[in-house]
Subunit: 352 residues, 2 copies
């Protein structure tokens, strides 16, 4: 049987359970000799403190909740990997906090339910919310109860946040195309709307605005015919959009697909099928630095969002906030980086 409790250990080691508790956690309050004796018994009887009981007593859960719109959310996997690597390199052990995963299924109702349950039932010490934004009420409730809430790709004055500078990312890509003599740029972005009761991400809008601002600064009239929206982020839709683009924009010489590399690649494959040369006829830049960009021919230029950095910062923010090392709400902004590959290589002036 494995009903060994701290009381048993205390009895066998002839000390109080308080001492056992301290010895297990290697407290300096217990002298080495006693510690050794206790730990020998602990080892012999294979005693592990009951996780739940321990957490009830300490008032902490040892859990960081990670809430995403879907498990397939583009950000989720890279962020988890970033945290995983950080823990392995820095903490060198199982990891101080357990990661609990939640999907809202893209439903606002479920998002609210999950966030409230985590808060009030005291399920997690901190919550990292990825690409979706909790409602104001809920943010306030987290604030009131001093439960750390870390928003990734959203901002709020009453929560910590890590955001990516989308404006900068969009500018870098457009500047690069423009400076390499691409003057007829088509812009693709995620849809700004969604099905009823489904969550809308704010990211497409940010990128679209960045595009419009860039045009303004360059004295380029914003032409809605050069803006395309993507709903599914999926390949078949990309092929259709590609067809539309070449039909409706005869002179297009560059496509910046801020809807991600998978969509960008779909566009690219379709254009190649149609006999269009990439990058000679049309340059393409995607977004995300998804590995697919390196795996296709020609290799796809892209905007790297530095999710490795985002993940580590989110984790650190959560941990520091739990340990009350942070006084006020922190807002960290990560600068993305343009990755130049074959799909957008230089078009020389001489061609004209």
């Amino acid at each position: 049987m494995n009903k060994i409790t701290i009381n048993d250990i205390a009895r066998i080691a002839k000390c109080s359970k308080a001492t056992v508790s301290l010895a297990i956690r290697n407290s300096p309050k217990v002298k080495q000799e006693t510690k050794d004796r206790i730990l020998k018994v602990v080892k012999k009887y294979n005693f592990y403190p009951n996780y739940i009981a321990s957490k009830l007593a300490s008032g902490k859960t040892g859990v960081i909740a990670v809430v995403a719109s879907r498990f397939s959310n583009t950000f989720l996997s890279p962020l988890l990997t970033a945290i995983e690597n950080y823990i392995f390199n820095k903490e060198k052990k199982i990891g101080e906090y357990k990661l609990q995963l939640y999907s809202t299924f893209n439903k606002i109702e479920i998002k609210n339910e999950i966030l409230r349950e985590i808060l009030y039932s005291k399920v997690a010490d901190a919550v990292v919310v990825i690409t979706i934004k909790p409602e104001q009420d809920i943010i306030s409730e987290y604030k009131k109860l001093k439960r750390p809430l870390i928003l990734v790709e959203n901002k709020d004055p009453n929560a910590h946040s890590i955001t990516i500078d989308n404006e900068y990312g969009v500018e870098c890509a457009l500047d690069y195309l423009y400076n390499n003599n691409r003057k007829n740029i088509v812009f693709i972005v995620g849809s700004l709307t969604s099905a009823i009761d489904e969550e809308v991400s704010g990211i497409p809008e940010e990128r679209l605005n960045a595009y419009k601002n860039w045009c303004k600064n360059k004295n380029i009239t914003v032409d809605n015919k050069k803006i395309y929206y993507c709903r599914s982020y999926w390949i078949n839709e990309a092929r259709e959009v590609a067809d539309k683009i070449i039909k409706e924009n005869k002179y297009v010489d560059a496509i910046f697909c801020a809807a991600g590399d998978i969509f960008a690649n779909g566009i690219m494959q379709r254009l190649i099928e149609k006999g269009i040369k990439i990058p000679d006829d049309i340059a393409i830049i995607g977004y995300d630095n998804h590995f697919i960009g390196e795996a296709v021919t020609p290799q796809l230029s892209t905007v790297d969002q530095k999710l490795e950095e985002v993940g580590v910062q989110a984790y650190l923010l959560a941990v520091d906030a739990i340990n009350e090392k942070i006084k006020s709400y922190k807002s960290i902004i990560i600068k993305p980086e343009l990755i130049k590959r074959q799909s957008s290589s230089i078009k020389s002036q001489q061609q004209f």
Copy 2:
């Protein structure tokens, strides 16, 4: 303040906390009138039972642990998505169990540590272990303590398991190539060894044996020069292997890459760069049905492992085992399916 406990609710609703507890969980032991009164108070004071206290009292944790070699493990994300969809469609709510994610960092030591902690500290009600195999000792310990252990892509008489019929998957692909007149088939598989103290997956070996058996059945001599191993599963290595293949196997007319679609695609891209026509000169089939296979040109044939099914079965097995609905250890075998796409389309006899 949110220090509302079940005692407060009991006091306010003028009943005992036992009744509150029952009312919250909609027990038939409490009459409707009392229930209504209590639930009104619960609602008014926004009371949520303390998760930890609740679990300490009930002796269950409400957690299913998912242990993978790395968060980037090919199986992990599809399995999580499968579970997510199942919960959304069937349970229609937050999900009865919380999913806790663990990475062993591919280290055997860490794997052992994690599995022991989960078991003895009573962190989870059931554990799903993905593509790695717990040591015999640990499997026995789980058995002794009656903690459900579900192995994915591993088998053991003392644990539940979901495996994919690798032999069948390999046969399907090879048969298809062979029957379409590809007689000079190169086989690529994951490395059978790994760095010291790193975990070795048993999958490559299974697939390699399946290949050898297939050769035997077809009266084909196994030619080690036609077998290539992949270490990194990554694109650069794939390109190198592609170069080696065409140098060392002049007459190769098909490649079956059982090391996954990403690697297969790397091979394919390199061959295309070299001017080789796919599938006319060389047919290619990958493994995994990774979305990249649909996103490249030509689209990649592949073996779909039905991970959607695997994920659902693993979850159901965990839940049923927790609820003691299963008497003996179950072993579920999933049949993969060959997905025929452009990269391996038919080579007619007439060409010769």
